[in-house]
Symmetry: D3
């Protein structure tokens, strides 16, 4: 299989199709994203990853929008272009406005700045934080 | 000045004291955290960092709790122990429960996993994400 | 020299050609990869980097395939697209199958996830690990 | 619950005990590591993480030692002290010698160096790598 | 607003134009870079970021060239392609030669290598460094 | 050998002693740092790493102080506590003042912030940067 080949629904095994079907049903979409088509090269990882994402991203103590924004914040911080695009789209779909995106980006930028200042000065943890 | 020395209020210049006073007033705390005491070694950076943090973390399109959780998520992802402790404490103060922390951590972990899967398979961005 | 210029064999100095020749001979390839052509802008770094890579990647206590997979795993984790492509190709040449790549990617993804969980909960090191 | 509290077997819920028991049985150990005791604060994440780790780390196309070394390489690259200690111990248990560790560390160091050289010179991917 | 839309001067608000004008005046350039045009989607972050960059990058105890090289070194280490291109151009404008770039890249590469060796062997800090 | 064992001069092989002697001579120090004592567990990596560091850190187009500050900036950005301590000490020895350290830290912090803003908005590279 070529390094850049992708698994489309029509060529997929029954196991892969079952995951694709569950993604489409859960998310109410006509087709799965490229991420899942590439992951389908390895059916075990496809299935496990989807099950984990489905469980983790379901609303719980945190609502769906907050979870998508946390996912986006980490992806921006890590510089994963694909994940910024896909979770940016998912967050907007869940209700993130341009103003919310702007504030999210400001927090991510600032956290990355102060993370380095804290590391650089090797600041010891305040005892009060441990209580 | 020793590498590990810290600036306490009583030994601080008027410029540093003004920042410390504003932090204490804004956050309603009796003393500033170690982060600010170490940063006070460089008064210009202390002042600019506090002004930026104050502006960015004020409630806006996102509420204070969401902002603190985004800050914590980035700090966990970057592995900054000090920032995890300080923003973990701030998030709890703003209302984050143990259940919310558990879900935040699960999202951060999963985002770090799928960021690598997307990078590793060099998944091309779906045109639909660009609209 | 333009930022994006590259050094081809025919235009290279004797020092650069000597490195290119050793790479081609060692790897049994007709031409060197873009990485070396860009690095050739700085002959001292070209020479030192090649010598280090040649020494490190030679089979020893670990065989060539394991070393290439470790290199690939780090590159995936760091999100270096060029290195993922080049060391992915090198690993396949050394015998990595699609199944092995799938398992490698799963381990890299999982390690990135649990690295954050361990950092986020600031888990203390078990004394047993230090023995 | 305090930020630094840990869940011991005797105080654990039945759901947590079931996971702890499966870890101890699978790994043939008398007690679980601190990582699992901290993760047990969030039983859903504990269960999902253990199931994923158990599935991913089982020997397949790659043997257990290679998988542990890949895990260790990523943890070293990310600077996760806990994970370096725990997966270092696991890799040694699976057969990693001092010589193998030395070579692993050399590869991780070199990959981190050339990842930056490739990024810094923004080297374009060779067409041959895409085949 | 589309995810990929950019704010050009003619369509900008008075607040955004004021920042763009100050950037052009300070840097003596005819137009601002794409970075500022994208940031202008969020005027508060645009203004704060420019003020911070302007203050931080002004010559002080370190000259402009050294500051640009430090900025470039961090951007190379983080793998931010845009920042490598923009701060690479700024550093060259401030006097960085090809030889200086080559040495900068060598230091960044080496630091990334030894950072991992120090982490991987979990080397304890020498007491002498703390004085 | 225990995971945390270190190689002292008196117990070292002739090959390790030769490297230790060269470090002490080159740096005019009475003993080598912990970094080298841990690295000595793997004599080949010890020798290669020292040769590379010695060559890279020698004054050239960039002076010794600038090189140490670049090394420190990368180490702060990566959060390597050992490297921050050791290269912080080396930079101070080479002439870095408290004011210079303050400005270096401000640049590192800012670069980490704008790296994320550029990634997050996926800003396209200006054609002018490629000339």
């Amino acid at each position: 299989m070529s390094v850049r080949s992708v698994v489309e629904y029509d060529d997929a095994s029954a196991a892969v199709r079952a995951v694709f079907d569950d993604i489409k049903r859960t998310r109410q979409v006509a087709d799965v994203n490229n991420f899942w088509k590439y992951l389908a090269r390895d059916p075990a990882t496809l299935k496990r990853t989807w099950q984990s994402v489905k469980e983790i991203m379901a609303p719980g103590a945190l609502d769906a929008l907050t979870k998508e924004m946390l996912y986006l914040a980490v992806s921006v911080s890590n510089g994963c272009a694909y994940c910024i695009a896909s979770h940016g789209a998912a967050a907007r779909k869940a209700g993130m406005t341009d103003e919310m995106l702007g504030e999210l980006m400001a927090v991510v930028g600032m956290a990355n700045e102060t993370n380095r200042l804290a590391n650089g000065y090797r600041v010891p943890i305040d005892p009060a934080f441990e209580e």
